[in-house]
């Protein structure tokens, strides 16, 4: 995975879901974790999270933990292609930030 525009921008929600899933988690855990990571700024709605998890599994960016298919609480974790998506997004965000700082004469690193 090379080109940084291979995926396009991720939503905040998806970005934080992927970050959260380096540790396997179930839905409610992800909601709590995203809230924690963003200092309470990003509160994922349950419907939004549910839809995002479905799409991410379909894309192969996250997967259901083996053995949790049938259990009440499904646990997810990030996959290899999920990691690449996240990395390419971080590169993109870096570019945005560094250009912003450069052109606005912003704060030093």
């Amino acid at each position: 995975m090379s080109g940084s525009n291979e995926y396009g921008a991720l939503t905040e929600g998806v970005y934080y879901i992927l970050l959260s899933l380096f540790t396997p988690m179930h839905g409610y855990g992800i909601m709590q974790n995203v809230k924690l990571l963003s200092n309470g700024r990003v509160e994922l709605g349950a419907g939004t999270l549910y839809g995002a998890l479905g799409t991410l599994v379909e894309r192969g960016w996250i997967e259901l933990l083996a053995g949790s298919q049938d259990s009440r609480k499904k646990e997810y974790r990030i996959t290899e292609s999920g990691r690449s998506a996240l990395l390419s997004e971080m590169t993109r965000l870096d570019e945005l930030l560094s250009n912003g700082r450069k052109l606005m004469g912003g704060e030093p690193e």
Binding site: H26, G27, Y28, E43, G45, G47, T48, G51
Partner: protein, 193 residues
């Protein structure tokens, strides 16, 4: 002590707002059926209510899985009123009312633009398909008037036809604010993700 309130809403967000206002007053919804709400006294603001139109009938696997997911996040579904036979009476079982304790924090179902748009589109399609259905049957009824011989039945066809067309116009009128919300959100997406 249960309180029964009869009230009708065409706008689900106004209905949601009203349920939350009632909750703030210490009246928590415990059961509902068409234009009829049953409240129980509770601590003021104990619950936050949210309405949702599910993609599919709750009996189908996809919805059942979603409802279970909602439960995991601490939301419970407010049950519909029951007939004496014990059968739940839903106007449309795809419309569900959730509540969650406000102590667990803000409760939203759709938190980003895309999923909000999808939800509104679902509702828009429901109102439009109802409008189209009533319109077709209504026009058909009126057309029958010209086909049949002049009998008493004709007047019934005319009245039925006109009523159905009025109903169709009603569904179109409630779909318009939803259409506007979808357009606004889509415009938002041009500047924000």
């Amino acid at each position: 002590m249960n309180h029964v309130v009869r009230k009708y809403f065409a706008d689900f967000e106004k209905e949601e707002q009203w349920l939350n206002d009632m909750s703030a007053k210490g009246l928590a919804l415990v059961e509902y059926s068409w234009a009829r709400y049953v409240f129980e006294e509770s601590a003021p603001g104990e619950y936050i209510y949210r309405l949702e139109l599910l993609e599919e009938d709750p009996k189908k696997a996809k919805s059942a899985e979603y409802l279970q997911f909602m439960e995991e996040t601490g939301a419970e579904r407010v049950p519909a009123g029951k007939k004496p036979s014990g059968k739940s009476v839903y106007v449309n079982p795809r419309w569900v009312i959730f509540r969650r304790k406000s102590a667990e924090g803000a409760f939203t179902i759709y938190s980003d633009t895309d999923s909000k748009i999808k939800h509104y589109q679902r509702i828009y399609r429901l109102w439009i398909s109802l409008a189209v259905m009533e319109l077709i049957i209504g026009v058909f009824n009126i057309m029958l008037m010209f086909v049949n011989n002049p009998t008493a039945l004709n007047r019934v066809n005319l009245i039925m036809g006109l009523l159905l067309i009025v109903l169709a116009l009603f569904f179109i009128s409630i779909s318009m604010p939803i259409r506007r919300k979808i357009t606004n959100l889509q415009n938002d997406k041009l500047v924000r993700e």
